[in-house]
Amino acid sequence: MAVQKPEELSKIDYKPPKTSWMDTPAELRKDMFCWGNKEKSLKTVGFPNARAWSVADEDWKLPENWKEIFLEGLKERLSKYRSFQLFMDICVRCGACADKCHFFIGGGDPKNMPVLRAELLRSIYRNYFTTSGKMLGKVAGARELTYNVLKELWYYAYQCTECRRCSLFCPYGIDTAEVTILVRELLNLLGLNIEWIAGPVANCWRTGNHMGLLPHTLRDTVDSFQADLETITGVKVDYSFNRKGAEILFVNPSGEFFDPVGNITFMGYMLLFHEIGLDVTLSTYVSEGGNFGFFTSNEMAKRLHSKVYAEAKRLKVKWIIGGECGHMWRVWHQYHNTWYGPVDFLKEPVSPITGTKFENAKSNKIVHICEFTADLIKHGKIKLDPSRNDNYKVTLHDSCNVSRGMGMLEEPRDIIKSVCNNFYEMPPNTIRENTFCCGSGSGLNASENMELRMRGGLPRANAVNYVRDKFGVNTLANICQIDRAALQALMNYWAPDVVVRGVHELVGNALVLKGEKERTTDLRGEPLPGKEAK
């Protein structure tokens, strides 16, 4: 698979086809979709219609009554979620969202306008569930659910990263990401997922994390981080797994145990926890903060999410800190309380170092690592030497789920400004709640859809290029593991020489440890400023 050169890909054709959208059948183009789920991935979690199939095949091997299943599923969800019913009814097709989607901006396909993406399902809703649609059909914007329409739904549901940027601009507040979420849920009733999501879901159900890391793998991995940190700092940091009675359970995305950029972010946490003497434990059972179940169905998201609290209960911890993950916070912030209500067996989080009560985490008892660290810095509880990050000119990519989804905007900035001397913001319409998606979120960070990813990431990359050219920015900081995995590939393509780093990598570099040796390298083993080989 080879994506065209950036000069070619950036020539985007925004001219819509001559025929109306209903009369323009979707062409499922390679490099724009992910491979379909494997049979064994669905079997592991007991999902329906587990079988070997291929997107490229004409026959997707659906059950005979697939249409009935889909429409019944739609009916059930319309009655279950009032928001969904509302989103199906109230769109006036004003088009305010149309040019806000990174996939439309970078690709020009009209069906990637959020309004039209949702219309793909609305047209079916009208045809089967509204009087006007039943009577007037196409005139009323209704259409039959055919095999090709189903394929079209699948194709575009996996060309949306559920980033919610479009909903920010909707005068009615329609959350188009929720429409995608429910389309994916309906497709899963027919065994139509992608392997990049279904595989991690099956792994997480089986092993406790998306990667499928077994307890001894986790142990040996973190041991190796410990050894690296000792080489770099001269300090042997403590850590523990599955320690009963620890005050805090730490939950992070498992990609941090595997991905090279994530590895360093995790090493940053380790240094921090050691330095402040935090009574914290990791868990091999809950070795995942992310939740690819959330990209599958509400039910699957709950099945994975509930494991976190089962483990917190078993270990008898008081509260939880969550790492630099994106969608984990969407689940926690926007879904957890609706699903479960307040968690009564844990304590309201209070920082043992500063005494700060995290009022916002009163209900679900989980605190974001950036809130925790920003609070330490605010109270002057850690010693920092920002000059160690002087080789970096830093900008921050706000992760969609944390900024737009959760409203956390200042804390990562507060941290970066304390641990780095050079921080520059990208243009205002591309950051904070307006942030542009990495183009690979919601489980679309596979490799077979690289063209889609590079197109979807173009608006973000453009904004990075702006600060790179204007201020010499060479570091793209972020607080999400999909970002760390996806953005480096994006930078290599659109903005060469920009390096992606987790915020806690920068913290780990700047953190001055008690008893450390004179550091000569950063956490990646690169020489610190002024320590380069002569």
Binding site: A56, P200, H210, G212, T217, T221, S254, P260
Partner: protein, 111 residues
Amino acid sequence: MPKFVFQGKDYEMDEDGYLQDWQQWEEGMAPDLAKTEGVTLDDRHWEIIRWLREYYIKYQIAPPIKMLVKEMGKIFGPEKGNTKYLYELFPGGPAKQACKFAGLPKPTGCV
């Protein structure tokens, strides 16, 4: 789904050309799998492929690149324990290509 033919027998592959069942792999397959990516294997490749198989049997997952680099350095010396060396041998990326030739699935998730 594509098939991998070896000594007259069909083996299931995924869309990226990875063997579906890592236990069906045998050493004779590696040169053929490498050929699909235009790589000719020599002893240096085999050092890595054999190590990857051992790692997979122990951990049920391919190693992170950081671990691979570190271990290669430990076992075969610093001149082999670096990313540049690994990319010279596996130009399509050591994680992706070496796993493919070793008959191992590539990891999925936030990576």
